[in-house]
Point group: C2
Chain length 262, copies 2
């Protein structure tokens, strides 16, 4: 895992480099169970496709000290940090001001964001609360929000996005060209009609033969049919296919015919 936050800009080869990311989900409503997060799954998949590996997620409450401390930890530790939530107009939307605090810069009206909101709201509708959404940390560059206009922003390796999935996804599309990934991770899935405890030994041995191919085992139940999905992941297609063959042979030796699902 690379741990140099300035690495992505200086990548000159996509080989053998793991570009890492952390997602901070900000909001009491996620922790209370009231709102189900839908951004983690989306981001994990999207980042995979461009060769960025989501290594960790932190869900934190709307508490300034926690947000600032967490952000300062993870922006050092990972190449990219994405945050979702807490950038609306209400008093509990403190993400943007917390990012300014974490970076030790002023939180001020961003002229470009101001112009966007002035164009969006009718005369007299851009009140004090809405103007908060035009404030960013000094030095931030905006992330376009084609849905509801109030932008996200980027500070160094930190990308600040809305929590509402539709808006978050649109913002991610806007910022994607700014990301530099390593080699994308390919995956292959084998469905097996054996209980996990029967395939475990052979799978562990296959993992030892292919330490560079990540092998995961996920039990499933389909009506009264039980089985395991074996998911293999690697940045190297040849090694991935070799591992798939190896695992498939292991499964066949146990008397089952694996089904390649992806």
């Amino acid at each position: 895992m690379s741990s140099n936050p300035s690495a992505p800009e200086s990548l000159d080869s996509k080989e053998n480099v793991t570009v890492t990311a952390c997602l901070m989900i900000i909001g009491n409503e996620i922790l209370s169970g009231r709102t189900k997060d839908a951004n983690l799954g989306f981001l994990g998949e999207q980042l995979n496709e461009i060769g960025v590996r989501l290594m960790e997620v932190r869900v934190v409450p709307d508490i300034e000290a926690v947000i600032v401390e967490t952000l300062n930890e993870v922006r050092q530790k990972f190449d990219y940090v994405f945050t979702t939530g807490g950038i609306g107009p209400t008093h509990d939307d403190i993400t943007s001001a917390c990012v300014a605090k974490a970076f030790g810069v002023a939180w001020s009206l961003h002229p470009e964001a101001h112009a966007l909101l002035k164009a969006h709201y009718a005369e007299g509708e851009l009140n004090e609360a809405r103007l908060r959404m035009a404030h960013t940390p000094e030095g931030a560059s905006l992330i376009e929000n084609p849905i509801s206009k109030a932008p996200g922003f980027q500070m160094d390796n930190v990308f600040v996005m809305a929590g509402i999935p539709r808006v978050m996804q649109a913002m991610f599309e806007s910022l994607k060209p700014r990301l530099t990934g390593g080699a994308p991770v390919r995956s292959a899935t084998l469905a097996v009609s054996l209980p996990e405890g029967k395939i475990a030994k052979g799978l562990g041995e296959a993992q030892d033969r292919f330490p560079d191919v990540e092998m995961g085992s996920y039990p499933y139940r389909n009506g009264d049919r039980f089985g395991v999905r074996l998911v293999l992941r690697s940045v190297d297609d040849t090694r991935l296919e070799g591992a798939v063959e190896d695992v498939a042979a292991t499964v066949r030796a146990l008397g089952d015919e694996p089904v390649r699902e992806s």
Copy 2:
């Protein structure tokens, strides 16, 4: 927030004590987006009901050093830690051994867990891989698993559970009597047909009048009807109702009639 991990045992009053918890979701499959977590929402709600506040969630990969380091951080920081995932029979199920490492104790066959699995599996079926599920850190007490038998366990303030939601939920039911909560958090919800930017100022002022009542604002869209749900939360019923009245009056002053949903 209490930060003393031994506090729950010594609580003699439920007043003015916040009992805190952290959830560690362990597994590459969550970070890759392949598997959607369903345990966060369940745990957040369940803990609320017994007066334990979920303060943070960490989603971490199947990497020993990360699991050990994270666990040692959060078990100091929060009253309770719950983990989900990584306790099955395959090579990537490393949670249990990582907990032993974090506590600096041996990872060994737990006689009671061994007896449970011997009773569950037919003669000759309890192979080496499945026996891993009968290993715990030295000193652990088991958490019953009525679904698939292989138990979870408790080490001090850390509760180790399965990742499969049905099993996790059954384990949580089993362990719940061991938890000592503070005052449960009550909540009230007002649905308002005003945009967030219009209610923001008044809501912020109401929050200032009731600093002990947490107020959150969550925009919703119902067909072409837009609005905001205002969620108020407090351990004190009287203060909660006072705040609801205050916020309702604020909404009425803006020309809308709030609908109390809970």
